[in-house]
Symmetry: C2
Subunit: 193 residues, 2 copies
């Protein structure tokens, strides 16, 4: 029971937690070592003791948090039909208020990933994990072209998160019925081609 080493690990965890909060609140490139240390309740020098750089800290915090979100979102999908599962996912999404920290963190991380190779690799892995879970679920339910559908659905969910930051009314009751049969007019119209 090495108390000192445990405390060190606690500080590391608190720094990661503070990073996820501050990325959401201020934006990726506006997180500084000093505000980070203050939020975590530690000295400014500890940031560069536990992590090689500020970017490394942010990358680890964001990757970890996004991984958790992706797993939670798809955790209970296995035994549901597409419509049930859709309601489940959108319900989870609605638990967050309009400008919630988690949504902003996702978007901030996506943007930062386009400018940082290490982060990009890490986030692409998480995105592929999410897509794989969705694909498995859709395949088991006989949805056509499950891979493309999973990729599009993942993009739509993130898009809804993004737009909800501007329009809090974009919740499940609005989105759910649309996602069931998006852009499919009544059949008597006679689709072209």
């Amino acid at each position: 029971m090495t108390t000192t080493a445990q405390r060190g690990e606690q500080v590391r965890t608190r720094l990661l937690q503070a990073a996820t909060e501050l990325i959401s609140e201020r934006g990726w490139s506006a997180v500084s070592t000093r505000t980070l240390a203050q939020r975590a309740g530690v000295g400014p020098g500890l940031v560069h003791y536990h992590f090689t750089s500020l970017q490394a800290l942010l990358t680890e915090a964001a990757t970890q948090t996004l991984h958790t979100i992706a797993e939670e979102a798809t955790a209970h999908l296995a035994q549901t039909t597409p419509h049930e599962g859709l309601a489940l996912i959108l319900g989870d999404l609605d638990r967050y208020p309009g400008d919630d920290p988690a949504s902003r963190l996702v978007t901030e991380t996506y943007l930062a990933a386009t400018r940082d190779q290490d982060l990009r690799r890490a986030i692409t892995d998480v995105l592929n994990l999410l897509r794989r879970h969705l694909t498995t679920w859709l395949t088991a339910n006989g949805v056509p072209s499950p891979q493309a559908t999973a990729a599009t659905l993942a993009a739509t969910l993130d898009g809804v998160m993004l737009h909800r930051a501007l329009d809090p009314d974009l919740t499940a009751p609005t989105v759910e019925p649309v996602l069931r049969r998006l852009l499919t007019p009544d059949d008597h119209q006679g689709a072209p081609r």
Copy 2:
């Protein structure tokens, strides 16, 4: 023909242009007055001569650019069927490479809008304009619940932009067939409820 006043207006325009470029390249909160002036080829002091603050400059540049994008995306939609129009929009989206400046600008602006009231109002106006155009188009084509569909479609398009920054393969050929009948399993399955 006041040459000096015209030159002043040109500098203002160049500053706005430089702002849109730098927001995409470095991110909203990483644009500084000095890099901005250097990109525009003018002295650092001119930023605060033509604009009241750096934020005001960025807000004006982003709002103006997003307005243009929204108008262009919906310009030729009027006389198309939903499937034709969808192909048109997605084709426009594909003209940009994976990590194109326009996409990043949109996302950067959305995020910045959650932290700046003035920007938020301006961007909400643009988003509502885009939704209104889509709603009109969908209504004319008999698509059910056109308002909700327009809101969801707008979110999906932005989500695709966001994901394409990480996955350049998420292009029209992948997305288009899915958006036609999203999440609708073959009818012989017997949808619940």
